[in-house]
């Protein structure tokens, strides 16, 4: 982009459920916003937005009507999902609850080129991530609150009400935690990379059994702007298998298990490093830290795509087989299980439906955070949707693969935050979780 343009792709917000009210300007102009820990800018539609339908369907900020407005004018673009938002920065007082945050830098959007913002019930987004991912170096609102000494403690906390019949959607608390909304005490983990609220998470257990892939640790970000949980395909396939969720059948995966399954098994028994198994077989190359698909074939695009799929399938098969070996299963059972998982691969970015009548028979799942387990019951990780008067059930787990070094990565959205009251401690750069009440 241009020298004064910052472009940061964001999540899309179509599947967001929770939103609240803020006001900007003097006298206050009200806006409905998503409080989003997965981004860091505040933006609302501008009265100068003329050519986007979304702007006419939502509240628009009129700077001329605000006595406290200060011109900035710097332009910016934010890429998200299927389109972009463009606009310019302004400064004004922002009213959050009864707290006035003075001279907050925010974006007045003049172009919203996606159906996301036409459909959305919200006018804009209030980012609660770190300044490191903020477009135009605009401070997130918590930073302004801190600088203006408006808070008793440098924290904010989320309680999301998962009770489908309750009128209260949830509560965002600045300056502390509301003891009414959690049980026991919080388990804190340090923020490992600023930008998103990112920390190191351990294994995912299914019915108490390890899924292996993140046993050595995976990155995780807490994102209130996402409804579901998203994580590595190798794990989500195991979840799908355990809960009877539909999946897509991967022929490459089946071929790898059929042709190389026994060899993988033998190499693992012979104590070959799991990271090098697929290299030894010849389906991947080892770049020193992890396996990558064979670059030699990259001159032929089609072949390269094929080798990518075989390498990925092989790496997943290694995790699954290694896991089963730990449980002393027989060779036949192990290969059969791996073959079954090849039929449960989640569609990328897609949701998997499950039988609503089987929820009570599904296992508990548990994330390991700071060596403690954070259990999700089927009632918590299965999401019920209304469609044409009928209830349908989907798994709260979606596949989302980010390669190293940034990944593998979990995104913990509202499904997790609904079960666990979450504290975002920007004073001590840590995140706390306690059972939600």
């Amino acid at each position: 982009g241009g020298s004064n343009d910052d472009i940061v792709p964001l999540d899309n917000y179509l599947d967001t459920q929770y939103y609240g009210e803020i006001s900007i300007g003097t006298p206050p102009q009200n806006f409905t916003v998503i409080f989003d820990t997965g981004s860091s800018n505040l933006w609302v539609p501008s009265s100068k937005c003329y050519f986007s339908i979304a702007c006419y369907l939502h509240h628009r900020y009129k700077s001329a009507k605000s006595k406290t407005y200060k011109k900035n004018g710097e332009t910016c673009t934010i890429s998200y999902g299927s389109g972009q938002i463009a606009g310019f920065f302004s400064e004004d007082n922002v009213l959050v609850g009864d707290l006035v945050v003075r001279n907050q830098k925010f974006i007045e959007t003049t172009r919203e080129t996606s159906p996301t913002f036409i459909i959305g019930k919200f006018d804009g987004i209030l980012g609660l991530g770190f300044p490191e991912i903020s477009v135009g170096d605009a401070p997130p609102i918590w930073q302004s609150m801190k600088e203006q000494k408006l808070l008793e403690n440098d924290v904010f906390s989320f309680w999301l009400n998962r009770d489908p019949d309750a009128s209260a959607g949830g509560e965002l608390v600045f300056g502390g935690v509301d003891p009414k909304h959690y049980k026991g005490s919080h388990t804190y983990v340090p923020v490992t990379r600023k930008g998103y609220w990112q920390f190191n998470m351990g294994d995912l257990l299914i019915g108490g059994q390890s899924t292996g892939f993140c046993a050595g640790g995976c990155a995780a970000i807490v994102d209130s702007g996402t409804s579901l949980l998203a994580g590595p395909t190798a794990i989500v396939a195991q979840v799908n298998h355990a809960i009877g969720a539909e999946g897509i059948i991967s022929t490459e995966c089946k071929e790898v298990v059929r042709e190389y399954g026994e060899m993988i098994l033998q190499l693992l028994i012979a104590q070959t490093s799991p990271q090098k198994v697929c290299t030894q077989i010849g389906l991947c190359v080892f770049d020193g830290t992890h396996s990558v698909s064979n670059p030699i074939e990259s001159v032929v695009e089609k072949q390269n795509r094929g080798s990518d799929l075989f390498c990925t399938a092989c790496e997943m098969a290694v995790v699954w087989i290694q896991n089963q070996l730990r449980e002393n299963k027989t060779k036949e059972l192990i290969l059969d299980y791996a073959n079954q998982l090849c039929e449960r691969l989640p569609s990328p970015n897609g949701e998997s439906t499950v039988d609503c009548h089987q929820i009570s028979k599904m296992p508990n799942l548990a994330f390991t955070i700071a060596n403690k387990t954070f259990t999700l019951t089927p009632e918590q990780y299965i999401v019920k949707l209304e469609q044409a008067g009928q209830t349908m059930c989907i798994s709260g787990f979606m596949a989302f693969d980010i390669p190293p070094p940034r990944g593998p990565l979990w995104i913990l959205g509202d499904v997790f935050m609904g079960a666990y009251h979450t504290v975002f401690d920007f004073g001590k750069n840590r995140i706390g979780f306690a059972k939600s009440a």
């Binding site: 940061v8 792709p9 999540d11 899309n12 179509l14 599947d15 967001t16 459920q17 929770y18 939103y19 609240g20 009210e21 409905t32 409080f35 890429s79 998200y80 999902g81 299927s82 389109g83 959050v96 609850g97 009864d98 707290l99 996606s114 159906p115 996301t116 459909i119 019930k121 808070l151 008793e152 999301l160 009400n161 489908p164 209260a168 959607g169 949830g170 509560e171 965002l172 608390v173 600045f174 300056g175 502390g176 935690v177 509301d178 998103y196 409804s227 990328p348 970015n349 897609g350 949701e351 999401v383 949707l385 209304e386 469609q387 349908m392 989907i394 980010i402 940034r406 990565l409």
Partner: protein, 45 residues
């Protein structure tokens, strides 16, 4: 509203999820991943 305990509480509203919005979200994400892959070496999520 800021209360006697010094906390600033913001009520959140909740919108029920439905299949149509999830499908639209999926399409948006797929579009988004095309954008990201075409962005080449950008280190963004």
């Amino acid at each position: 509203i800021r209360s006697s305990d010094g906390l600033l509480r913001i009520d959140l509203n909740k919108k029920k999820l439905d299949k149509e919005t999830l499908t639209a979200a999926k399409l948006a994400r797929q579009e988004g991943s095309h954008l990201l892959s075409s962005a080449g070496s950008r280190q963004y999520l």
